[in-house]
């Protein structure tokens, strides 16, 4: 996998990982052709250590653990070549992780990539950026400017 392909995949996985279960379910229901898939390992919930750096540059420290669920699925294609999809999502919704992994696998299949990128990823990305912008506006409205009157000198 080249770094460009990796970056593209990171983008769609980031969008999928932030999607709500209801959105993923309706995207799955709207698929004309549902692929058969098997689980590479059972979907499981556990903890991942979140690490941070103060200001993004300091020494790394352990911020704390978060609950996450991971899934790994495999699609068998007609040609016999297997495609694997992976997902790590925050929280404990196993079905959500499984759907993310299935969409990740489908997006790696070249005949299905474009349709799914357009009908699933694009609307999800648009909804997420709209939510983010709305939240940013709401925060911006409460912004307080402080003025200090310089005395003396």
């Amino acid at each position: 996998m080249t770094s460009l392909e990796a970056a593209t995949r990171q983008r769609w996985l980031a969008v999928l990982a932030r999607a709500r279960l209801s959105e993923l379910e309706s995207a799955w229901d709207s698929l004309a052709e549902k692929p058969a898939y098997s689980l590479l390992r059972p979907t499981e919930t556990g903890l991942a250590m979140v690490r941070g750096r103060v200001g993004g540059t300091g020494q790394p420290f352990n911020l704390g653990e978060m609950t996450m669920t991971r899934a790994a699925v495999q699609l068998r294609q007609e040609g016999g070549k297997a495609v694997s999809g992976f997902a790590h999502v925050a929280g404990r919704q196993a079905r959500r992780a499984e759907l993310v992994a299935v969409f990740d696998a489908l997006l790696q299949v070249s005949d299905r990539h474009d349709a799914i990128a357009e009908r699933v990823i694009a609307p999800l990305a648009a909804r997420q950026s709209a939510d983010k912008a709305a939240f940013a506006r709401k925060i911006a409205a409460s912004k307080v400017e402080f003025f200090t009157v310089v005395r003396g000198s």
């Binding site: 996998m1 590479l40 390992r41 556990g46 991942a48 297997a82 790590h88």
Partner: protein, 207 residues
Amino acid sequence: MSVVEVAPSTELAIDAARLAPGFGDPVHDAQATFRAVLDAMAHPGRLVELPARLAAPAPLGEAAIAVVLTLCDVETPLWLDPGLAPSADYLRFHCGVPLTSPDLAHFALIGDPHAMPPLDAFALGSDEYPDRSTTLIIEVEQLQAGRGMILSGPGIADTARLAVSSFPERFWAERQLLAELFPRGLDVILTCGSLLAALPRTTRVAA
């Protein structure tokens, strides 16, 4: 669940197209397999049928794969026979096991016993820590209890018999030499398809 590992470079990346499912029920299948290995180790020469079902990726048998999935994890370096390189991704994905050289390995998985290095190339443990030795998991062509070599020692009431077909003669000679180093030594698990038998270092083997 362990903390998710991130491959630090593309060389270590796993080829996802080669992966196959592991245990269907990891916890219970691994416990049952552990019990089977314990049973085999406690009764050298006894053939034990693998209690879990597993679709093992070629070229290894399901018992060999199940033993590795059960006993190995990120803290137990594994040495893989060069002929088993296609299984490396599968094992690294399912148990996160690091691959290493024979002398540093806690476990060694051997698919072709004729091509294996001499036994003293593996870690034999030390007198203080004889448990720090390599446990060999060797896939053989055929295993049969009740005939063949005569085994005696701890865990065997009188004698037991085990026939291992197409196995290099030098293995038995080298194993005999290691007996002098006791408590250092090597424990061996022989696997064949879904069967396994154990030869701990304490077992004496006569033709």
